[in-house]
Symmetry: D3
Subunit: 239 residues, 6 copies
Amino acid sequence: MRIDNRKVDELRSVKVVRRFTKTSAGSVLISAGDTVVLCTASIATELPGWIKPEEGKGWITAEYNMLPGSTPTRKKRDRDGHLDGRSAEIQRLIGRSLRATLDRVALGPRLITLDCDVLQADGGTRTLSITGAMIALIDALATIPDLASFPLTDSVSAVSVGLIDSAPMLDLCYQEDVRAEVDMNVAMTGSGKFIEVQGTGEHALFDRSQLNELLNLAEKGCRELTQIQKDALGADWPF
Amino acid sequence: MRIDNRKVDELRSVKVVRRFTKTSAGSVLISAGDTVVLCTASIATELPGWIKPEEGKGWITAEYNMLPGSTPTRKKRDRDGHLDGRSAEIQRLIGRSLRATLDRVALGPRLITLDCDVLQADGGTRTLSITGAMIALIDALATIPDLASFPLTDSVSAVSVGLIDSAPMLDLCYQEDVRAEVDMNVAMTGSGKFIEVQGTGEHALFDRSQLNELLNLAEKGCRELTQIQKDALGADWPF
Amino acid sequence: MRIDNRKVDELRSVKVVRRFTKTSAGSVLISAGDTVVLCTASIATELPGWIKPEEGKGWITAEYNMLPGSTPTRKKRDRDGHLDGRSAEIQRLIGRSLRATLDRVALGPRLITLDCDVLQADGGTRTLSITGAMIALIDALATIPDLASFPLTDSVSAVSVGLIDSAPMLDLCYQEDVRAEVDMNVAMTGSGKFIEVQGTGEHALFDRSQLNELLNLAEKGCRELTQIQKDALGADWPF
Amino acid sequence: MRIDNRKVDELRSVKVVRRFTKTSAGSVLISAGDTVVLCTASIATELPGWIKPEEGKGWITAEYNMLPGSTPTRKKRDRDGHLDGRSAEIQRLIGRSLRATLDRVALGPRLITLDCDVLQADGGTRTLSITGAMIALIDALATIPDLASFPLTDSVSAVSVGLIDSAPMLDLCYQEDVRAEVDMNVAMTGSGKFIEVQGTGEHALFDRSQLNELLNLAEKGCRELTQIQKDALGADWPF
Amino acid sequence: MRIDNRKVDELRSVKVVRRFTKTSAGSVLISAGDTVVLCTASIATELPGWIKPEEGKGWITAEYNMLPGSTPTRKKRDRDGHLDGRSAEIQRLIGRSLRATLDRVALGPRLITLDCDVLQADGGTRTLSITGAMIALIDALATIPDLASFPLTDSVSAVSVGLIDSAPMLDLCYQEDVRAEVDMNVAMTGSGKFIEVQGTGEHALFDRSQLNELLNLAEKGCRELTQIQKDALGADWPF
Amino acid sequence: MRIDNRKVDELRSVKVVRRFTKTSAGSVLISAGDTVVLCTASIATELPGWIKPEEGKGWITAEYNMLPGSTPTRKKRDRDGHLDGRSAEIQRLIGRSLRATLDRVALGPRLITLDCDVLQADGGTRTLSITGAMIALIDALATIPDLASFPLTDSVSAVSVGLIDSAPMLDLCYQEDVRAEVDMNVAMTGSGKFIEVQGTGEHALFDRSQLNELLNLAEKGCRELTQIQKDALGADWPF
C-alpha cells in the first residue's frame, strides 16, 4: 500500500483550470495531488537572436521556477543571477519536450514562452509542468488568427515513475521520491511515442528488466494524462 | 464616470482566499478587480545576520515579484542578479508597512518572510500586496504555539489614490494609473493612523489642497479594506 | 534645543561651489552642515533604448552613490553588481524630482545624467543631492548652444523633516535622523508646488495633524533652499 | 558505412594517459577519436556546507568545462557568472554517475572534485568525461594512505548511442551527433547495471523497439570501455 | 615645448588638502594640474579572511575608482559587478606600493583601506593616488593611540614618465599620455629605492639607453614629490 | 646552487608541441620545467565593438586561465563572474606583448584570440604563456590564405627574473618565486628591444644596480627563448 493509499500503477488526482489568469495567451493552473503549477504561455514576435526571421520559423522555450512558498522550508529566490543547476536542467527538459511535436514552419516567426511557476511542490513538478504547459500552449495557439495549419502534430504529456523497495510505482509524491532507489521521468506523445526517457539510479542501480517495468508504468500513466488533457480541452482538442 | 464604471471614491471588488496553498504558514490569494497577488508567509528561526539572537527580538521582511505571465507583454525574470529598482523599492515599502505595528519582543527570535508574487497585474499591486500579506501574516502568527502575547498591535492595509484630469480617484486600475498626473500610495493602521504616505507628481505638480483631497480618499479606502480583512479572518481577527 | 543648537525650523548652513571640476558640463560641490555631495551633470546624445530619437525628446536620469570614506565605518563599494535597495530607491527619487519641471521637447534628443556622489554623510543626503543637482543641471543646460527655449519651467529643491520626541523638526542631521519617529522627504518647485511627499513612520505612526505640521516645515525649508540656489546662480538664474 | 569508416557497433579508438599532470592526486588525458578531455581529481578535507563532518561521510562532485579552443568556432568562456544550462546539466550527470558506486562511509570525510576540461570536442564529451574521470578517481583514491576498505564497489563507464537515418549507432562523433534523430547517453557499472539512461528525441520520436536496440548497443559499448579502463589501470585495477 | 609649457623634466603643480572630509581617519584631496584624487584612509579591526588574528599582523589594501564625472565623456559606473581589468590592475599596484615600507607587526591586527576616488582625470591618476594615499595613510596612522613604533619605515611616492616623439618626459598629462610611445610608472621610497617599475611600449619598443633615461627622470620626479609630501605634513612628517 | 640544480642564469628545460589540438588555427602545448600551458589561437572575422570594420585593421587579444587541477590545492573556477585581479592583469600583459610587433593593417579586419590555459603551474606561467602564444600565433597566421605581407614585424618572448637572498636569478620556479625579494617580468622582441618591464619589490626594495643586473639576465633568457621558438618553428619561422 502506498503512503496516500494509491495503487502502484495509479496516478494522483489531476485538476485543470484553464484561463486561470487572462493576461497571457494561455494560462493553466494544474494540480496533481498537492503539486500545483501555474503554466502561462506568452506569444512574442521577437525571435531569439540565433533564428533568422527570413527563415519564417518559430520557437518554443520554457522557464521553470519554484515560488519561495512552494516548499515547507521557504525556497530562496534565484536573485543572485545564478540559476541553480537543477532548475536549468528542468527547464531545458520542458522546452525540448514541448518542441518535440512542433512544426516550426507552421508556427511562423513567433516565440512562445511557457512559464511554469510551481506554487506548491509535492513531487513530479517537472512532469506536471510539461502536461499543464501543453494545455496552455494549445490555448495560446488558438489565439493566433491566421495559421495555415495547426503547428503541433501531436500532444505531449509526461510522468515520473520509480523503484521503491524494488517495486515499480507510478507518479511519485515527494515522500516517495526521496525514498526512491531509481527515479525516471518519461515524456510521450498522445499517440504513444517516446520523447524523453531520463532514468537515474539515485540510491541503487537497475537492470534491464526493471527498466522495462518502469517503462510499462510510464506508458500507462502518459496514456491517462493524455485523456485528462483531452477532457480539459473538450471541443478545443486539436488532434 | 470611470473606465470600469466605478464611482471616484469606490474600491474595486476584493476577493480573499485564505490557505490557497498549504506548504506555508500563511497563504492568501487576494484579488482586487483584475490584480491578483499570492501572499505567502514563511516562519524561520534563522535571523538575519545583523540581529543578535540573544536580544530575543524577531523581524518581518518582504519580497515582491511579478510573474512573467502577469502582464500582457511577458515580463522578463530577474535572472541576471539585478533586482530592478522598482521591485527593490516596492518590497522595502511592503516590509516597512508590515513592521509598523510589530512588537519585536512579542514575536521572539523568528524571521517571517512575506512573499508577494503578482500573478496578474492591473494596477495597485504594491498596496494589494500589503493588504493581502497582512492576512497571511495573521494566519502565520496563529500557527506559533507559545506566544505570550500577539505580536501585532494593529492591522495594516494600503491603497493607491491619484489625480486624473485633476480629479482625485480611489484605487487606480492600470489604465487609470498610466494616465494619472499624481499617484499616491498610502498605508494605514486599522485604527486610522498613517504608516506611509508616498505621493509623486508623475506628469503634474500638486498643491496642498489636492494633497488633502487625496488623503481623504485614501483614509476612506483603507477603512473599507480593514473591514474586508476583518471579514476574511472572521473569528481569527486578533484585534 | 537641538543637538547642533539649531531652532526646530532652522536649516543647516548650506555652501555651494559651482564648477568644482571642469570635466563635466555642470559640477557642484554642495554641503549642508557636515553632509557633502558632489553633483556632476553630463550631457550625451545617446538616448536610453526606450526613447525613439525621432520623437525629438530628451531625458534626465540620476545616479546616487556613497563613497567608502563618507561614513565613519567604511562603506563597502557596490562591486558585486547588486545595487542596494536603498540606493536604487534614492536615485529613482532624485531622477523623478529633477524631471518634474522638465520640458522634454525643449531639451531635445539629449540624455543628461546627474551623478550625486556623497563625499561625507551626515543625514539628508538624498534631499541635498536634489538641491545641488538642480544647480549643476542649470549650469549644464547653459552650455547647450542652440536651445529654442529653456527646458526647465521651474527650479526644484528638497528637504527632510521629521518628528523627534513628537516634535516636528526641519533638516535632520544623522543623529536626529536615527532617533526620528517619523521621517519625511519633500521635493518642491521654486513656486511652491509639491513634486514628492514621502513620509514614513519608522518607530511610530502619525496622524493627520502631525502630517500637516511636517508639511508646513518642509514648505518653509524648500522656500529657503530655493533662495540659496538663486543666490548661488546669481545672474545665471533662469526663471 | 559511417563517416569515419566505423561499423555501426564500433567504438572510436580510445587512448588513456595516466598522470598527465602531477599537481593533482589523479590526472588522466583521455581521447576517443578526436575528442580529448583532461580529467583531474583533487582531494580536499573541507566538505560542502550541507555535510556534517561528524557523520564521517565523504562526497564526490564534478565540474565540466569546454576550453575556448576546443571547438572550431572559439567557445566564449563563462566569465559572466552564468554557467550555461548545458554545462550545468552535464556536470550534474558526471557527478551522479561517479557517485553511483561510492561507499560514502568508506571514503571518510573527504571531498573529491573531478574536473573534466574538454581540450578538443568531437562528440561524446560528457560520456568520455565519465569514463576518464573514473580512472582519475581510482588513481586519486590510491593516494589516500589509510582507507579501511576501497570506497568504490564497482567501476563506471559511459557511452552515447543514437538513431541516424533510423539506424542505431554506437559512440557518435560530432557530425553524426548533429544529424541524429535520437540521442541517448548511458552510464553503466563494470558489472553491467544501469546508472543513467538519458534518451532524447531531438528531431524524431522513438518507439519501444528502437529504445531496446539502442540499449543493446550501449551495453556493448560500456562493456568494451570497462575493459579499456581495466587495461589502462593494469595492476592498479581495484575490483 | 610641452602642451602646457612645462619643461621635459618638470612636474605639474601639486596641491594637497589634508582632512578634506572628517569621517575618515585620513582624508587627502590631492591635485596635479587638472588631475584630482580624493584619498581616504579607513581603519578597521576586521582583518581579511586569510590573515590569522593571532599572528598580530596588519594589512593595507587599496581601492581605485573613477567617478562618472571625472572624464569629458561620462564614465559608466562598474555596477554590473565586473571591475574592469584596468582598475583591478591599478588598485593592486597602489596596494603593493603602500605596503612596500610597512612593518606589519608594528601596525598590529588592523586593516587600513585606502580609497582613491578620481574626481577629475587628466593623466597620472594611479601615481597621484599613491602619492596622495601615502599622506592620508600617515594621517590615519597618527590617530592610532598606542602604537609601539611607527609602522612605516619610509615614505612612498610615484610618478609617470614616457617617451613622446622619442623624447623622455616627466609626469605626462592626458594629451601627452595618449601620444606616448612608451609609458612607465615608477614608485619609489623617500630614500630613493625602487618599489615598482612598470614600463610598457604602447606604440613602440624601447632599448636599454632609453629605459635608463626614463628612470633618471622618474628618480627626479619622485624626489620632488617626496619633498611635497614632507611640506604638506610639516611637523607630522614621521621619518 | 638552486633548488633544481640550475645555474643562476640558466633557463628551465623548454618543450614545445605544435598542433597539440586541431580545432584551433594555432595550438601549442609548451612546458618549462613543471609549468605547462596550452596556448590556442582562434581567428574570427567579428571585431570588438570599438573597431570600425571600414578601417581594415585587426586586433589580437588574450585570455589567461588556470585550470582547477593546475595547483596542488585545487584552484576554484571563476564561475561567479568576477575574474580575479591577478588573472585580469596577466591577460592584459599577454595581449599587449603579442600586439607589440603587430602591423594591424597587414592583419586586416580579423580578431585573433590567444587562449592561455595553464594545465600545471610551477612559476612563470605569464611569461611562458607569452612565449608559447607567439608560436601558436605564427602558426595561426600561416593559415590565412591571402595576406599581402606577414602581420608581425618581429617575434616576442618573455621571462621572469628575480632577486633571491640578494642574488639575481633567471626563470624562477614556484618555490623560488615565493621567496624572491624582487620579481620582474620582461617581454622582449627577437631583435632585443624591450616591450614590457614589470619589476616589483615584493619583500624588499631594489636599487639601480640591482635593476641593471636583473635586466642583463632577462636579456639573456629572452635571447635563448627566441632561439627555442625558432627551432620549434623550423622552416615556418617567418622573420
